[in-house]
């Protein structure tokens, strides 16, 4: 099964199990089934509960909040994660706040699914990883799915919590097969640990394999699924006694995943380095984009560099 099917199946299961659930998004109706085909088949199966919306990202997230507060859970699909900027106010000042601000008198079962990431040549406004801007927002859980877990199960888990979730999906990853956690390289005594998430996981795994084969550097890949609140304890336990950690993310440098990893590991590791995307917008040129986003070679080089430091 591919990632897109895993998510699609979970959406079907959730729609079948909860007859109050509504899916909102732009161009989600069949036969199109969403820009990345994640909602395919749903509007045919659940005609009354899959609504194609105006191009109003803020509006539909707000509408979802109102529905959810009054008993109708909603899963919102943002066509591109980049458009989440238009819904920032609704996410930060409405969806995430209502429950606490109203003294726990309400719950807001809203899931926002956002396809993020580059490597498809979509250019500056359709290739970003904007999730860090929504991390550290109290009341909002941010998850990032990847093929070494189970994207469908993640969706089920988010839905069961009946609280606001932002789930970061990755555009490239949709077509990848679901491999499950056992496929992640986890050598017994790792020389280096790579901490990463989302679309970078596959590159980290490829780098780890090369490091083992070509350099005999035992490399563990820790694929973090929950970005916010940051699971510091879990990350520390996954890193274990390893003293060299490389954090890898596709987003822009600073104030992001790598910074949070560093914070979680203060005083725990001897060497830490970070690989991120560029500090300027992502170019449309595919080759240029590839040079800029942390890929297999860059990750491999960063691990070797740390290893050589001792």
């Amino acid at each position: 099964m591919r990632v897109v099917e895993s998510i699609n199946r979970a959406l079907h299961d959730l729609m079948g199990a909860d007859l109050r659930l509504v899916i909102l998004g732009e161009d989600v109706l069949d036969p199109y089934g969403g820009a990345f085909k994640v909602t395919k088949g749903l509007s045919s199966a659940y005609k009354d509960r899959v609504w194609t919306t105006p191009i109003s990202e803020g509006g539909i997230v707000g509408m979802a909040a109102g529905m959810a507060i009054k008993g109708r859970p909603v899963i919102v699909e943002l066509m591109f994660g980049d458009f989440i900027a238009l819904a920032a106010d609704q996410i930060i000042n409405h969806v995430a706040k209502f429950r606490w601000m109203y003294n726990d008198q309400v719950e807001v079962p809203v899931i926002i699914r956002a396809p993020m990431g580059g490597r498809r040549g979509y250019g500056p406004t359709h290739s970003q990883s904007l999730e860090k801007h929504f991390c550290g927002v109290p009341g909002l859980t941010v998850l990032a799915t990847h093929e070494y877990a189970d994207p469908g199960t993640l969706l089920h888990r988010a839905f069961a919590s009946r609280s606001p979730h932002l789930i970061i999906e990755n555009k490239v990853m949709y077509s990848r097969p679901v491999l499950g956690p056992d496929a992640l390289p986890r050598p017994a005594d790792a020389d280096v640990v790579i901490l990463t998430y989302g679309g970078c996981v596959e590159h980290a795994v490829a780098a780890a394999k090369k490091l083992a084969q070509e350099e005999e550097i035992a490399t563990t890949v820790v694929a973090v699924e929950q970005l916010s609140p940051f699971p510091g304890d879990e990350v520390r336990s996954q890193v274990g006694n390893c003293t060299r950690v490389v954090a890898v993310e596709e987003g822009s440098p600073g104030w992001g995943f790598a910074s949070e990893c560093a914070r979680a590991l203060i005083g725990r590791v001897r060497h830490f380095s970070a690989l991120t995307g560029p500090d300027h917008p992502i170019p449309s040129s595919r080759d240029w984009e590839d040079d800029l986003l942390p890929g297999v070679n860059a990750i491999q080089a960063a691990c070797i560099e740390l290893f050589q430091k001792g």
């Binding site: 509408m63 109102g66 959810a68 008993g71 609704q90 706040k97």
Partner: protein, 336 residues
């Protein structure tokens, strides 16, 4: 008929029992009892004119007291009073079915809130940051939640939320009301919401309270074109009123709510009004003659002339406010 009950955070109390609401006495203040009266706070048993007068008076006195407490340095943060606009709150809220309809209000929410809930003490305690506040001291003046009443301090942000809530409860015949000011016509969320409400046939009443000013900015500097005419092109029916008579507003709101409920369509209810008080506290920049104009449209004096026992009602309301302040002050400060 039980008159005393703790209603805050108590989902088991039926909304229909609102008619019996009495001020909630916090355990810390049990001995501060309300003056003996058979009259419910919102006066449901009273004829419309008397009831509206009582509710407006309650709102007015609560808000005047809030400004007073602020000037004495007894309150923190900020507060936006609806002094001068009480007729809107009373007229619109009384046209609703409190058992099922939903209210979304903005920063200037006390009037809407009191008309909906009668929770004077809960409101004052909330603004005083007490544990007995309607949101346990978490929300303060602009962020209230009580049954199907909600407010938020982000201009326009509640509009799409109101649309969603209306859609969620449409099957039960509920309508949602959302209060917006003239200055908020600048927010894109309002127009997304009009479109969404129309496209999805959401039973929402968009209430526009046009007091011709936003904080310190007069309407003519920032609002283009016609506010009344804004909704029609979205296929949203408009009701408009220019005046400050709560009974006229009530009747128009009844018509608007009736239309929305029957047709399952949104509507735009435009109310021209006047803000007599400051935007928040002591920040009124309007020239004296403009303020004079605003005061000339105070909705309370004309209503007072229509109510025989106004003195008695005033005294009752004042007593409610006094007790509520004392009781709130006696409650513990909210903290984590």
């Amino acid at each position: 008929m039980t008159k005393e009950r703790a209603i805050r955070k108590d989902e088991t109390v039926l909304a229909s029992s609102l008619a019996e609401l009495q001020i909630v006495t916090s355990s810390a203040a049990r001995n501060l009892t309300l003056a003996p009266t058979e009259r419910g706070l919102l006066g449901f048993e009273l004829p419309a004119a008397v009831r509206f007068y009582q509710q407006m008076m309650l709102i007015r006195l609560v808000e005047e007291r809030l400004l007073d407490l602020f000037s004495q340095g007894l309150l923190f943060g900020t507060t936006h009073t609806s002094i001068g606009q009480e007729a809107n709150a009373v007229g619109v809220i009384n046209a609703l079915d409190r058992d099922r309809d939903i209210v979304w209000s903005n920063h200037r929410c006390h009037g809407h809130f009191i008309a909906y809930s009668g929770e004077v003490e809960g409101l004052i305690a909330e603004i005083m940051g007490r544990v007995t506040g309607i949101c346990g001291g978490r929300g303060g003046s602009q962020h209230l939640c009580f049954r199907n009443f909600h407010s938020n301090g982000i201009q326009g942000g509640i509009a799409p939320v109101a649309v969603g809530s209306a859609l969620a409860r449409k099957d039960e015949g509920a309508v949602a009301v959302v209060f917006l000011g003239d200055g908020t016509m600048g927010e894109g969320a309002v127009y997304e919401s009009l479109n969404l409400a129309s496209v999805f046939a959401a039973p929402v009443v968009f209430v526009i309270e046009d007091n011709e000013i936003a904080q310190t900015t007069p309407k003519h500097l920032t609002v283009s074109g016609s506010i009344v005419a804004r909704a029609e092109p979205f296929g949203v029916r408009t009701f408009a009123y220019d005046g400050n008579d709560p009974i006229a507003i009530y009747e128009l709101a009844q018509e608007a709510v009736g239309y929305v409920r029957a047709e399952s369509r949104p509507c735009w209810l435009y109310l021209r009004t006047e803000r007599i008080g400051p935007h928040s506290k002591g920040d009124d920049t309007r020239p004296a003659e403009r303020l004079e104009q605003a005061r000339a449209r105070d909705p309370i004096p004309p209503m007072r002339r229509r109510v025989a026992n106004a003195d008695e009602i005033d005294a009752y309301c004042l007593n409610v406010v006094d007790r509520a302040v004392e009781s709130a002050a006696a409650a513990a400060l909210a903290r984590g």
